[in-house]
Each structure stands twice: as structure tokens, then as C-alpha cells.
Amino acid sequence: MDLTFSPAEKAFRAECRSWLTAHAPHDLPSGDTREGFAAHLAWERKLFGARFAVVSWPEAYGGRGASAMEWLIFEEEYYRAGAPQRVTQNGIFLLAPTVFDFGTRAQQDQILPRMAAAQDLWCQGWSEPNAGSDLAAIESRAERDEPGGGWRLSGQKTWTTRGAFCTHLFGLFRTDPSAERHRGLTYFLVPLEAPGVTVRGFGRLDGDEGFAEVFFDDVFVHDDEVLGEVHQGWGVAMATTGSERGLTLRSPGRFLATAARLVDLARRSGDAAAPTLVDSVVADWIDAEAYRWQTFSTVTRMTDGENLGAESSLTKVFWSELDVRLHEHALALLGAAAELADADPHDWMKGYQFALSGPIYAGTNEIQRNVIAERVLGLPRR
């Protein structure tokens, strides 16, 4: 056990801190609005220019070949500097690990550099009106187009985050309707400009146009745009949910930064803060630290070659519910001012609304608790 950072890790942290402190924007509008998204793209391209967009990727694809530990360090510094959530996250954190694992060399060469540079912007096409947590219930189809050398997609995806602003979609479609639910699915990579695609943005609870529904009407996609094997999409997709629930999408840095802001708010509240509330604030701060150290332990195990599997469900429940508590306690500190967007330099009510989506997306926490019980603890499924 060695809980110190190496000289190289310290130097990397210093480089991140220096650049991010100088350049991180603090006043961007929400990236889940049309005008905000454009502003965020400028920021994403600036990150790419400084080779901070995808530090853990190989240099050939715009990264630095950073280790998992260095990536965590980058994330800590990114959120510590107050930089905004990444509008490119569904591509760089969810799709990219799958492309690295399942993509052909040609797919990697074509997709990854443009993704890193925020030229192609990816959204996730999984959920459908009748398939949410029960993802294997999807009905959207892909029919074979032998003469064209590809597939024809039809159906509807929904709850597609930033779908109205993105250029590409990765999604699951049913290629073998006769197969049992989890089989006969294929993972497709779809340009949203393809003929037959209709994207309709719609408002989320927090008022931003962050959602979209995406309609496919006989949309042709080429065989090159299949990720992994035909009919093997479920396995490919599960690799991506591991990323989403686990540490790539929501690394500890984000919650450490929020906890630090909460502690600062509590400090400024002085003796107006009830002792029980101060106790809760400290408990949240400890939880953020607990997530950080649990992650260091996880990364050590990954580096040793261990496969984590269902444990990502533990992580997903923990960070998403911690995020809700952090915001609830901030709102409690604000008291009557909690409803105001400008009660504090940080808009806690807006953050609270976003935090409330955490226990829902990436598989509801009810489903995650089932996974923990069945696959981590070994309780009977039925």
C-alpha cells in the first residue's frame, strides 16, 4: 500500500491545475440548451487544443496515454477549477470505451479523433417509450438490406440527452425478432443527418431542452456502422453501462468539488446553521471522500487486472444519492432563499434538479439495488 502520489502524478496534477485554473470558464449557460451547447463546444475544443479533452486515450487519438489514476487526478482538478460538466460525455465516456473494446481499427480511426475534437457529437439511443430500465424490451428494428450492404432502421428512441444538438447516435436495434429478448440485438452507430431520421427536442423538468426523441423511418446504415458483431449488441451495450454506472461518467472529482462548495456555504452560514445540519454537511463531505478512496482502491484492482462487473452498481447508487444529499443540505442551509436561482453564486436549486435525475438515469437505483442484491450478495432472483 502506498497512498502517496508519484512525482509524475504530482507533476501531472500541477500541470492540470495550472492550465484549468487559468482557462476554466465559470459562466457558461447550461450545456443542455441550444445556445449553451454552442458555448460548451468552444470550451470542449479548447480542452482538445491543450490535449486535456481525453487524457486517458492514446496520443494518436488526441489523448496523452494517461493512466487511470492520472485520469482521476485530471477529473479532480477539472471540477476543482469549477469547469462545467462535459457536453461530450456520452461520446468520450460511454461510447469511446466500447469502441476501444469492440470497434475495428478502421472504426477507431474514424470515430475517436473526431469525437475527441468535439467535431462529432454523440448521443445515446437506448431508451424507448416502452423500454427504460427494462432495456431488453426495445422494439426498434433493423432489417437486412443485402443489396445495399447494410441495415434499415425503424422505430423510436427517447429521453436522448442533448439529442437535438448532437450529430451522431449510438443505439441498440433488434436485428432478429425471433430471438429471445437479450439476443438478436445489434449495436449501431448512426449519423443523425441520415435520411429518415427525425429529431425532436423537448424540455426536461429543469426547463432545459436537454431531451430528445429520435424517430427512424427506414434509415439506411452501412455494415461499417455496426459496432461489434451482429446480434451481439447486448453484450456490447453492457460494457458501456459498466462505464456509465461506474467511474468514467461520474468520477469522484465532481462530488469532491460539490462537497467543498457545500462546506464553504455552511461556513458562511455561521451559527445560523443548525448543529444537525452541520453534522449532515460533514457526513456528506466524508461520503465524497469515501467515494474518492473507494475509487482509488477500485483503480488499483483494475490495474491489477481484476474485472469489476456488478460492483459498478454499488458505485452508481452511491454517487447519485450522495449528489442528492449534497444539494438537499445546501438548500436547507439557504432556508427561505433556496427557491432563488441567485441565492448563492452556485445555483443549488438548478443543481438539485439535475441531481434528482441521477437515481433515474443509467438504470434506476431500484434496478441497481436488485443487481447488488443478486449479483454482489448472491440473493435469489426469484
Binding site: V263, A274, D279, V299, T300, E374
Partner: protein, 325 residues
């Protein structure tokens, strides 16, 4: 950064787990509720033979010259077994304090301590030495030089005594870090107790059938136990990290210990609550073993600073309003 134990450390842990499986099954814990000493009998001598009691003592003093990073996993196992012995007070708290720990390392002398602020020392009536807070350090007294006043713990296998000195100490030693080692030791035992209660409950709900199915197949039961597992998952790394910080003299080690003890205490209480609920009526019976572990967890959650006390310490460090103190 490498946050993992070595194979040697894990092997030491496994050896102690095997030993305690044999020497400290639930029957031994139950016996300690009513026997004359409140202790385990044979297990203590075996732990001395294995070097556990003197793990932190130097080799010159008959010890293994190990650190809290080595010992923390072993203490976790003593929690898993609900070992009725002052192992934390002896091996973690006082062995590093004694000028010559040879007899303590060999188990010829049992040392307990009342250093957590409660004034209470566990198993003091069978200890040869009792360590109390002194004005300039830790005061080491012989049992003959103190009066003991038995106090009833909720855990009947945890014999507690209020200690009143009748004569001066044999020695006064620097107590640096003694409290932190005690809180860390209790936190480690709470992890073990947590896991034991979870193991008992997982096994029970997989077997117990109602409405024609195992009760563990019901989502309400699954979610209770998933919450218990979550608490354990996010307490353990803080305990291991605090062990490392104490070992390496991290200037923030006391804060790290407070995080560990607060988190481990709350996590064990939650698991205890869920374990009892998921067992139903059988868990509420005295004959069933769950309460042996549940009550130890309640006791240890309260001792060496409870969760709120430790959070208040952290709050002061963070500069939070003093209302938390």
C-alpha cells in the same frame, strides 16, 4: 498510489480468520456472556502464538515489528468473530505505549485501557495492566493499584469497568496517537461485525421461505441488504486509509481516523438494523446468534467517540460553525 494490501498481509488476515473460525465460534461469544472472565479462553493464547498480540511490538520486544496497515485487517477479523477480548486496547492501543512490551506480546500480560474518554476499560478484571489518561501522558497501572466498578454493557460479552486509581502509576508513557489507534481499531472491528451480520442475513433470507419462495427474492428485502452492502463498501476504504495515515505519520491522520470511525459506526448500525429486520422474529430471539454481533456493534459504535462526535471534530477542522461541537 497503490491502494491494496500485499499478499503477506492478506495471508496473515486469512490465518487469523481460520483461527477465529475454530476458536471463536458463536458458542464461545455466547459463553463469554456468563463465564467468570467474559473472555474467549483459548483464542487469546493462540493469537499470542501467531504474533497478533505483539504485531506492533518491535522484534527486540518479542513482536513482529508490523504496522497498523498489517494489523487493521486482523482487527477486522476479530470483529467478524465478535472476539470477547481487549484486543484493540492491548494490541493496537497499548503495546506501542509500553516501555517493554515483551510480556504483552507473548500474552503473559493482558493490557487494557480506559483512554476513549468514557473512563471505562473493557475486561479490566482479568488484565494485569490498565492504562489510564495521565496529566503528562498515558499512566500504566497494575490491576492491584486500581479499584474496579463493574458496569453493564448492552453487550454481555464485553465486561466493562469504571477504573479508580488507588495508587500511582508504574510508569507514565507518551500517549501519542493512542486514542486514534483505539478509534481505528474499533472502526476495523465494526467493519468485521458489519460483514458478519450481512453474511448471517444473506444466508438466512436465501433459506427462509414464505409465500412459497425464499424471502430473499423479495425486492423489499433485497433493497435493505443492498443498502447494508453499500454502507460497508464506502466505509472500508476510509478505515484502511486511516491505518496508512497513522502508520506514516500523515499530519491529517486524526481527521482520517475520525472519518473512518464515523463511517464505520454508522454503517454497522445500519447493517444491524437491516439484518434484524430481514431476519424477522427469529433475529429478535436471544437464542439466535445475530444479537451477539448486533450488540457488539452497538457498543463499539458508541465507544472511542461515536459518529457524531467524530464528525464534530472534522467540522472544527473544516472551520464549520461551532454549533456542531
Amino acid at each position: 498510489m497503490r491502494f491494496a494490501f500485499t499478499d503477506d498481509q492478506l495471508a496473515f488476515r486469512d490465518a487469523v480468520r481460520d483461527l477465529l473460525d475454530r476458536e471463536c465460534p458463536p458458542a464461545v461469544v455466547r459463553d463469554a456472556w456468563t463465564n467468570d472472565t467474559g473472555r474467549s479462553g483459548a483464542a487469546w493464547a493462540h493469537l499470542a502464538d501467531m504474533g497478533v498480540l505483539g504485531a506492533l511490538a518491535s522484534e527486540a520486544h518479542g513482536g513482529l515489528g508490523l504496522t497498523l496497515v498489517d494489523l487493521v485487517l486482523v482487527l477486522e477479523e476479530t470483529g467478524y468473530a465478535a472476539l470477547p477480548e481487549p484486543i484493540v486496547e492491548h494490541a493496537a492501543v497499548t503495546v506501542p505505549i509500553l516501555e517493554d512490551s515483551t510480556a504483552a506480546a507473548a500474552g503473559r500480560v493482558t493490557v487494557t485501557a480506559a483512554l476513549d474518554g468514557s473512563g471505562l476499560a473493557p475486561w479490566a478484571d482479568t488484565a494485569e495492566l490498565i492504562v489510564l489518561p495521565g496529566e503528562t501522558g498515558a499512566a500504566v497501572l497494575a490491576r492491584a493499584d486500581v479499584a474496579l466498578d463493574r458496569r453493564e454493557s448492552v453487550d454481555g460479552a464485553r465486561r466493562l469497568f469504571a477504573v479508580h486509581p488507588r495508587a500511582g502509576p508504574q510508569a507514565v508513557r507518551p500517549a501519542l496517537g493512542a486514542f486514534e489507534r483505539g478509534a481505528l481499531g474499533a472502526a476495523a472491528q465494526l467493519l468485521g461485525l458489519n460483514e458478519r451480520m450481512l453474511d448471517l442475513t444473506v444466508a438466512y433470507v436465501a433459506e427462509r421461505r414464505q409465500f412459497g419462495v425464499p424471502v430473499g427474492s423479495f425486492q423489499a428485502v433485497k433493497h435493505h441488504l443492498a443498502d447494508a452492502r453499500l454502507g460497508l463498501e464506502f466505509a472500508r476504504p476510509l478505515v484502511y486509509r486511516a491505518a496508512w495515515s497513522l502508520t506514516h505519520g500523515d499530519p491529517d491522520a486524526a481527521v482520517h481516523v475520525s472519518m473512518a470511525k464515523a463511517q464505520a459506526s454508522d454503517a454497522a448500525r445500519l447493517t444491524g438494523r437491516q439484518a434484524l429486520q430481514c431476519h424477522g422474529a427469529i433475529g429478535y430471539s436471544f437464542e439466535y446468534d445475530l444479537h451477539l454481533y448486533l450488540k457488539r456493534a452497538w457498543a463499539l459504535a458508541a465507544t472511542w467517540g461515536d459518529a457524531r462526535w467524530h464528525r464534530a471534530q472534522i467540522g472544527q477542522t473544516l472551520g464549520l460553525p461551532s454549533g456542531s461541537a
